[in-house]
Amino acid sequence: MCEIQIRLLRDSIDAGAVLASVHDARCGAQMLFLGCTRETTGDRLTTLLTYEAYEAMATEVLQEIAATAAARWPLYFLTVHHRLGVVAAGEASVAVAASSPHRAPVMEALPWLLDSLKSQVPIWKQEQFYDGSTEWIHQ
């Protein structure tokens, strides 16, 4: 039985807390992925990003993705934190962590979770560039 924790939050992501949330003495493998906003998109400099979600649906879709992963791999703990609102360049916008007795399940599950999150969860980012212009990313 996998313990799943899903959070959409407007504060900074606490990577240590996300990692700690999957700690378990039975789990020899614990893995954390941190997705951070970058200063450059192509050759344009980004100053900050704004994330917007259809919150109720985003939480539900993340739960479904997590439950699917937990059914497919023997994960004991699985945590997904995603930031909403303004995120400065260089800060974490998403953290995903998982634990399992052995390493193969977490190493397979994390890429699958990120791919699913990025293609399915109704969250959008808007980039703001140094010239002040903004752009919603829809691709």
Binding site: P122, W136, H138
Partner: protein
């Protein structure tokens, strides 16, 4: 009848509103709802053609018959992560 459609991100920006109302006759499919959205606000047509419809927080296929009492949302291509 009139159906409210929730808008997000670039769609909300284009419409300058977080929802729009579309006039429909039931029964109507999700694909027809997306077409009605584009008809009612031509500026949205480009983005709507790449969007999905969510019914009560779930993606539906374009053939799905839409319940007029459900919460409907236009979901443009997502970019979280």
């Amino acid at each position: 009848m009139q159906l409210p459609i929730l808008l997000f991100a670039g769609a909300k920006q284009i419409a300058n509103a977080d929802q729009i109302l579309i006039d429909v006759h039931e029964p109507i499919t999700a694909g027809e709802v997306l077409e009605k959205i584009a008809d009612s606000m031509p500026e949205l047509r480009g983005l709507a053609s790449h969007s999905r419809l969510a019914v009560n927080g779930r993606y539906v296929t374009s053939q799905t018959i839409v319940d007029g009492n459900a919460e409907l949302a236009l979901i443009p291509p997502v970019s979280g992560g």
